[in-house]
């Protein structure tokens, strides 16, 4: 490889690295056990919980969608105090706003907290199975 082509190759490699689509979740490393795909208005508050009044509050606006996957394991997803499904859960319709979320495998709680769903948004979360 000549000295003229070397910078060109390096530039190409750099461009490829920048432009290549990064994997959605190369591995959830969040200490709470849940990784929220970045989305405007989306928020994850680990260990937080909602009061009964907050849970029963009417939700205004276009509903959003929630997808939950679990890395390297299984588990069931509970939203607002009830079973939403066994992972992977795809496109679960939820009203906008805060929702109580818990993911567990038997006795083991994989993640729990409050998840904010923006209006009309699709939110994807990945839960790490220890």
């Amino acid at each position: 490889m000549s000295l003229r082509t070397l910078p060109l190759c390096l530039a190409s490699a750099l461009a490829a690295a920048v432009l290549a689509p990064s994997p959605a979740h190369a591995g959830c490393t969040d200490l709470s056990g849940l990784c929220l795909e970045p989305i405007k208005g989306g928020k994850w508050e680990p260990d937080a919980s909602l009061s009964g009044k907050q849970l029963k509050a009417k939700r205004k606006g276009a509903p959003g969608k929630l997808s939950v996957t679990i890395e390297d394991g299984r588990g069931s997803v509970f939203v607002d105090g009830r079973l939403a499904g066994t992972a992977p859960v795809a496109n679960l319709t939820l009203g906008p706003g805060k929702h109580d979320l818990q993911v567990r495998d038997g006795q083991k709680i994989l993640a729990e907290g409050v998840l904010t769903i923006p209006k009309g948004a699709s939110v994807r979360v990945v839960v790490r199975h220890p």
């Binding site: 069931s76 509970f78 607002d80 679960l92 006795q107």
Partner: protein, 320 residues
């Protein structure tokens, strides 16, 4: 497209019970339109243990009928489907039990695995029912029965996993090894030919020795008769003495001839057969080594001279 429209229509017509997404991604994508909006789940109304039990009973009765008819597969499918519709942990455990029965009956790991997953879903719900995050209006099992159901679920998982292990063990079990009866067979590597060939060669060598002895006896007798004839010519001995000694020397010469002929015969036959067998044996051994390799216990033979004060001979030593 028609299917999606139909599914949407069903979703509207269904009671507003929580419908879990299917476990498998494909099933999840197929049933996605059926998932009721969760904002509605919160308003789905109160579920008490008595209501859940009342809804569960007819399903259990139907499944029991199928089990009694010897059809655990259908019972398991029915229970799993209804459990999923109602998010009922007890039905999930019942389904696990039926899958376990079907798995043991059909020796099916797939059934046993399905049973484990059903039991685990049931356990997830049962543990969640004890969690403070659980909706107080969503009580599918009486709190006094939750612990017992958890124990039942864990035992189902344990039993199904054991059944899978048993199936694996039976599949992987090596065929019974036949006991080695009697003495181990010697490998067919030509060691027999070499042993017999060596023996016959030794006999042949012995025959040559006899032939040599016969020739020596004959030569000695010839020498004696020549000396005796010279003595008769010189007048040293009388004719009568000559005749008497000649007879004895003739007998000695005849004995030497017999020994010579016998030695020739034995030596020729022994050497011919022995060398032929040795050649065959060595060829077979080479072939055996080429096919099996190794030569740890290969046969060997040694022919050594043995000399003593009053004797001389050969010693054959070997391993065959």
């Amino acid at each position: 497209m028609h299917t999606r429209l139909l599914a949407a229509a069903i979703a509207v017509a269904l009671p507003l019970a929580p419908v879990p997404a299917a476990a498998a991604p494909i099933a999840a994508s197929l049933t996605a339109p059926l998932v009721a909006p969760l904002s509605l789940l919160a308003d789905a109304g109160t579920v008490t243990p008595a209501q859940a039990s009342g809804a569960r009973k007819p399903v259990q009765d139907r499944a029991q009928g199928l089990l009694k008819a010897g059809n655990p597969d259908s019972a398991a499918e029915l229970l799993a489907e209804e459990a999923s519709k109602r998010s009922d942990p007890v039905l999930h455990l019942d389904a696990a039990d039926a899958y376990k029965t079907a798995g043991v009956k059909n020796k099916s790991k797939a059934d046993l695995t399905s049973g484990i997953e059903e039991a685990k879903i049931g356990l997830d719900i049962l543990y969640f029912l004890q969690d403070p995050r659980c909706d107080p209006d969503w009580q599918l099992v009486d709190s006094s029965e939750v612990s017992a159901e958890i124990r039942r679920g864990e035992k189902l998982v344990e039993d199904s996993e054991k059944a899978i292990t048993d199936l694996d063990t039976k599949v992987e079990a090596p065929p019974p090894v036949e006991e080695d009866k009697g003495r181990k067979k010697a490998p067919r590597d030509g060691r027999g030919y070499i042993a017999v060939g060596s023996l016959l060669t030794l006999v042949g060598v012995g025959g040559l020795g006899i032939m040599g002895a016969g020739l020596a006896t004959g030569a000695s007798a010839q020498k004696d008769i020549d000396t005796l004839a010279d003595s008769l010519k010189n007048g040293t001995i009388m004719q009568a003495q000559f005749d008497a000694e000649k007879t004895a020397i003739d007998d000695k010469g005849k004995r030497g001839n017999v020994l010579t002929y016998a030695g020739i015969g034995v030596g020729a036959v022994g050497l011919a057969a022995g060398i032929a067998l040795l050649v065959v044996g060595i060829k077979k051994r080479k072939q055996y080594r080429a096919e099996h390799g190794g030569a740890s216990d290969s046969p060997s033979a040694m022919l050594l001279p043995a000399l003593g004060r009053d004797s001389a001979g050969l010693v054959l030593s070997g391993r065959f």
